[in-house]
């Protein structure tokens, strides 16, 4: 398989949440999201309210994927930063370390310049956090520091129950 399962443990999750929280404050942004390139939401911070964050994650990943496709068509590796300007709210999207997508939603209380500046610093911290996640996954794969995973114990009954519970 081309991409292994991504496993996020509590410790790394809290580190990432801290980075996002700091970015939101420093950039004076409304909301900050971290999404993987396949469209799964990893973490978020800010005043989410009724925002449909699952759809936001999926559409953002689609947007980045389509823009990457465009970049390759004209001979660019990627367009690492995308920015959308609305009447009230704006979205700043950037690819971090080639693997995850950082989304910042901001309004007139901030500015594109400030967001870009703060995103740059947060990106390097996030990149380090993901390096640690990847290293940990590799260590576990090699059998070092292996944790007990509940998934080895998934039974056929567990899977059947998942569907029968909902009458599927």
């Amino acid at each position: 398989m081309p991409e292994a399962t991504m496993i996020m443990y509590e410790e790394e999750y809290q580190q990432i949440k801290t980075i996002l929280s700091k970015l939101r404050t420093d950039a004076n942004a409304k909301m900050v999201f971290l999404i993987d390139k396949t469209g799964q939401q990893i973490a978020s911070h800010g005043d989410i309210g009724n925002l449909d964050t699952t759809s936001l994650a999926s559409l953002t990943a689609g947007n980045v994927a389509a823009t990457d496709g465009l970049a390759r068509l004209i001979g660019e590796k990627e367009f690492p930063v995308l920015s959308h300007e609305g009447e009230r709210d704006n979205i700043h999207i950037s690819v971090v370390g080639g693997r995850v997508i950082l989304v910042v939603i901001f309004d007139e209380r901030s500015s594109l310049g400030l967001v870009r500046l703060r995103v740059k610093r947060a990106s390097s911290e996030l990149n380090e956090a993901f390096e640690r996640i990847v290293n940990k996954a590799e260590q576990e794969k090699a059998g070092l520091g292996k944790r007990n995973t509940p998934f080895t114990e998934i039974s056929d009954d567990d899977i059947d129950r998942l569907f029968s519970d909902d009458g599927l």
Partner: protein, 198 residues
């Protein structure tokens, strides 16, 4: 790529519905959306043209319940079936955990099925996937229409491995959840295997 989050205790998996244009991929998602309980599903997002042909993808997040204390969330995507949208199809397959091929049972659509299936194999290969190993189900859709090929004729041409084969009439829901279940089961079984091997 399955995403396991121990902090929020969630397993997230991506399933892609593939197949020829007008074969019923979006209808599968629409039926699942219409008949699932409100707390199980998110919004159904359709990036479609004015004539309701899929332009980029449809997307439906669905929560099926819990496995070993983890919420099992499936992200269902369709691809645009029309031949000229190949670049978009390839993008949507990125990170896929399981594939459903929605075949059109009508005699006149057999060539379109074969072309789309070949395209699926090529696009999976381009992402580095081994088609023989990926969780996969074959749905034979539109069984209620006149001039459909027999199941034997369809499977002779379309079966690629030992995949589950489900007959379906997507607008009426026949076979829709059976198909989803067939592929989701394989995804979770794979997760168990990879956890055991890890």
């Amino acid at each position: 790529m399955t995403f396991i989050n121990y902090a929020s205790r969630e397993i997230n998996c991506k399933i892609v519905y593939y197949g020829p244009g007008l074969g019923g991929k979006t209808t599968n998602l629409q039926y699942i959306y219409d008949t699932s309980a409100a707390q199980q599903k998110g919004k159904l997002i359709s990036l479609a043209t004015e004539t309701e042909r899929t332009l980029f993808f449809d997307f439906l997040p669905l929560e099926l319940g819990t496995v070993r204390g983890f919420k099992a969330r499936f992200h269902l995507y369709t691809v645009p079936g029309q031949v000229f949208y190949d670049a978009s199809r390839k993008l949507i397959l990125k990170g896929v955990d399981g594939v459903v091929f929605v075949a059109d049972s009508q005699r006149e659509r057999m060539d379109a099925n074969l072309e789309s299936l070949w395209n699926l194999e090529e696009n999976l290969k381009s992402h580095g996937y081994d088609f023989t190993k990926i969780p996969y189900a074959l749905q034979l859709n539109k069984r209620d229409l006149p001039d459909v090929l027999s199941v034997e004729e369809l499977t002779r041409e379309l079966v690629r491995k030992d995949e589950p084969i489900i007959e379906a009439v997507a607008p009426k829901g026949v076979g829709v959840f059976e198909t989803l279940k067939a592929v989701a089961k394989q995804v979770l079984t794979d997760l168990r295997k990879s956890a055991g091997a890890g």
